[in-house]
Amino acid sequence: MTVKQEWAMTPPTVTAIIDGIRVTVPPGTLIIRAAESIGIEIPRFCDHPLLEPAGACRQCLVEIAEPGPDGKLRPYLKPQTSCSMVLTEGMVVRTQVTSKVAERAQRGIMELLLINHPLDCPVCDKGGECPLQNQAMTTGQADSRFTEAKRTFEKPLTLSTEILLDRERCILCQRCTRFSDQISGDPFIELQERGARSQVGAFDPEVLDFDGYAPTGLAAEDESGRPFSSYFSGNTIQICPVGALTSAGYRFRARPFDLVASPSIAGHDSSGSAIAIEHRRGKVLRVLAGNDPEVNEEWITDKDRFAFPWSSLDDRITRPLVRGEDGELREATWPEALARAADGLREAVSGARSKGVGVLPGGRVTLEDAYAYQKFARVVLGTNDVDARSRIAGDEEEAFLGSRVAGSGLGVTFADLEAAPVVALIGFEPEDEGGVVFLRLRKARGRQKVFTFAPFVSRGNAKLDATLVPTVPGLEGAALDSIRRGSGTVGDVFDGLSQEGAVLVVGERLAGVPGGFTAAVALADRTGARLAWIPRRAGERGAVEAGALPGLLPGGSSAQSAEAREGVARVWGVSGLPLAPGRAAYDILGLASSGGLSGLVVGGLTLSDLPKTLANGIAKAPFLVSLEVRLSDVTAHADVVFPVAPSSEKAGTFVNWEGRLRPFTAALQTSALSDHRVLDMLAREMGVTLGTPTVEAVTAELARIPIDDSLRPPPPSASGPSAAEAARRAKATTLATWHALIDQGSLQDGEPFLAGTARVPVARMSPATVAALGIEGRVLKVSGPGRGTISLPLAVTPGMVDGVVWLPMNSPGSTVARTLGVAHGDTVSVKGSES
């Protein structure tokens, strides 16, 4: 290698002098960052590393001199903002450390900022963790020369039911407006007015002072009727450098210095976002976003941030419950409840008329809990009937998970998703089902092409500038196949996916589409695109890794392989594992509802997500053991209920969709036990050593499970709907549905302010379909094969695939599975109505 080549390979740098110290940084580095790199902190408010520079607060003024064309240093006439200027070659910067001018300028700006800032630190939520307060104390002046009356506003302005704005505290740094514009794409707050009256506000006719123009369309989707409709609005509170933005739930409830922050992992979606749970004397007061550049950066969804009160509601179970002689649940001691559960399960497993026991851990379990559930099923109950997927899930998905996902370690990552030139989304709605996945995709907007296989471009996809590949629900497989074959007008999807680094994202809804996973795998193999499976619930990937699926053992090997069973049995120290093929969750529940099971062991299962016929299976099970945090539809039918800990009160590991282990410890020290500990005690009561008393024990055992790629189940191979079926569907009205991020989920209970930021549930149809079906009136009545009907306001959506109606899955007034008993891709009948 020649010297010249070496020179060409070193990355270019610029060298400058800050406060007399020579600093070398990559070109494009802001002065404020370059100063940070040598340990000089320049005060700032508006600057945020993840937002575009704005130079709005002017606090970071420094003195700058730059070499002119003749090489002579030419000082700028006035101090410049270091947060918005890039360091250039030969620049000489003098910060407040060495420059009197910069120091005086910063002092002056601080005095100006404080002129209209109220002295209400004792009642302000930010007091104690406030950058303005801190810098006023360290570098501000003790006295103010301003004796006039301070500017006041009516306070607080409710931007949404959750977000409140105190404008008089605002220093107009525009972090919130820039976040809404650049990061979340919901620019519903903006700077208004001029001069001394400058203020941040929503697009509210009253504030804007131009009546006659109120936003319609997108903003009107907010249930509260206020226009700041964003799933990520809580982040603006956290990045606000003063206490101008507050949340209704936390406002005035505590002071920051009184709170203990415990780092943890969010359990509301499969992203595994880093969070900090802030609590005081055993009570969680708020949740803040953690900083994990590899996963969620510094952002979390509002659901992760605000939906925590559910675990401390009044219906929390603190002691075991057993069903007494009178048929009512009563409190019992642990030994009594364990004995009752052990007797009942023993009878159900090996009694005279035993038909077997099924295990449904639910999709929110930790890796350790999922492992304990499946080991309990296979070792204690002697069955493969264990399935953590409490949703439509077939053998095809299981084959996909076994062959492509389980035990594959870190696959596609957030960084890969951001760097991908092309991303195709199938059965996956990033904003509603992905949380911070959406923010990563949006970060790549402009350099990335997003294709979405959906019936219409949702608001989230519109913010990603996604290209719609019009797809009838239930025929996603056919759409993928047609792309693989290169037919139709969608050739650029194929070309795009063939690019280096392209990613094909499949969501949980594809499990309900026959032939969907087969087609996705075939397309990925053909184009070379990488596959990423992004489920909705936090525990699903962990359950796959732990083998809490009927056909999968821990480590991803097939339960049908004798060699795999032997390997796992050796680690577990048992003579053998059950042979009979297991059943998926829906089949287990179906069997139970027809009286085909003797018992059920159920974890955190939500019945509202299930069709009524299957939910009845819970009631019909002769013996039901429930491990729950709160009283629920399941515990109402249970014979024995064991209280278990929510994720804030236990240690464990979530595995996020990337396959990244996200371990967390208990934020609150309570006496509540983890599922794996309860199952361990129950197994001991039944005379079996499960070996899952602690997280450490499970981790150690999981590490010894052999992983052998040759023992994986075969890849999925299922055919999609036949041509005749497809033709029949083309004539009928097909249902498209998914869960909105903020809906009626049981983990969002007890937070009315968050519920108010949900989007108004509407039924969507294309104009052509509305015309073709002759629908009149503002309300659409949708009915399925059963008797239930869902009536929602009709939103005529241009560009939507014809013959499709969209409903939110589990929103107020629209519980699709429970009311209609149908799922994504099923046919429904619709009719219009006036009310």
Binding site: P122, V123, G127, G128, F252, R253, A254, R255, F257, D258
Partner: protein, 210 residues
């Protein structure tokens, strides 16, 4: 020369001959001097001597002249407390339940007198002079719970012109007017509000007929 070689010399003045003669019984001098004096014994609890005026006794949560509470629930007292004896929870004032001027009030206020060391740092920290100390020192009890004083145990008694909170602020005033001392007593509208919402309130002034 080592230390041990220095001879001992007492610093006490040497006594004369008489002094040396009475030395063995000199100790009784103190007894003799005091035997005819009146006893100084305080006859507590029959006779309670007043403390110094700035004695640090039990706390008191003060009220504004119209009866609204001065405490805004800012928790600065809890923060200042070196013994972690104070626990405060704040909440938002609402039009239906206005406890203090402004937006925020202390909904839970507890002082654990089995932790409190009566140092007075909480008093210094209080930005609204809501928390002060009285001269009352008679505290003791058989249980730990009994010595955690709640807000109702600490609130100052109502002075004339005061109305029991919650009730609205004096119409047309802001919290700043309260802090400036412009509010001097409960006004007609506040009394009417309380009469309408809590007719049986003991702090209501008696209605004069005729």
């Amino acid at each position: 020369m080592t230390r041990a070689d220095v001879p001992f010399v007492s610093n006490l003045p040497r006594k004369g001959a008489a002094g040396r003669f009475f030395a063995p019984v000199a100790g009784f001098g103190v007894t003799m001097r005091n035997i005819f004096r009146r006893p100084k014994t305080e006859q507590y609890p029959r006779q309670k001597l007043p403390t110094e005026p700035r004695y640090h006794g039990r706390h008191q949560l003060n009220r504004h002249p119209d009866g609204l509470e001065k405490c805004i629930g800012c928790e600065l007292c809890a923060w200042a407390c070196p013994a972690d004896a104070i626990y405060v929870e704040a909440d938002s004032n609402t039009p239906e339940a206005q406890y203090s001027p402004g937006e925020r009030y202390g909904s839970v206020y507890q002082i654990n007198y089995l932790r409190c060391i009566f140092c007075g740092l909480c008093i210094e920290a209080c930005p609204t002079r809501a928390l002060t100390m009285t001269n009352d020192y008679e505290l003791q009890g058989p249980t730990r719970e009994g010595l955690i004083y709640e807000k109702q145990d600490l609130l100052a008694p109502l002075a004339p012109g005061m109305l029991l909170a919650p009730h609205p602020m004096v119409p047309g005033t802001t919290d700043a007017d309260y802090y400036r001392g412009d509010v001097t007593q409960a006004v007609r509208k506040q009394i009417d509000w309380v009469r309408e919402n809590r007719p049986d309130d003991p702090s209501l002034p008696e209605v004069h007929h005729g």
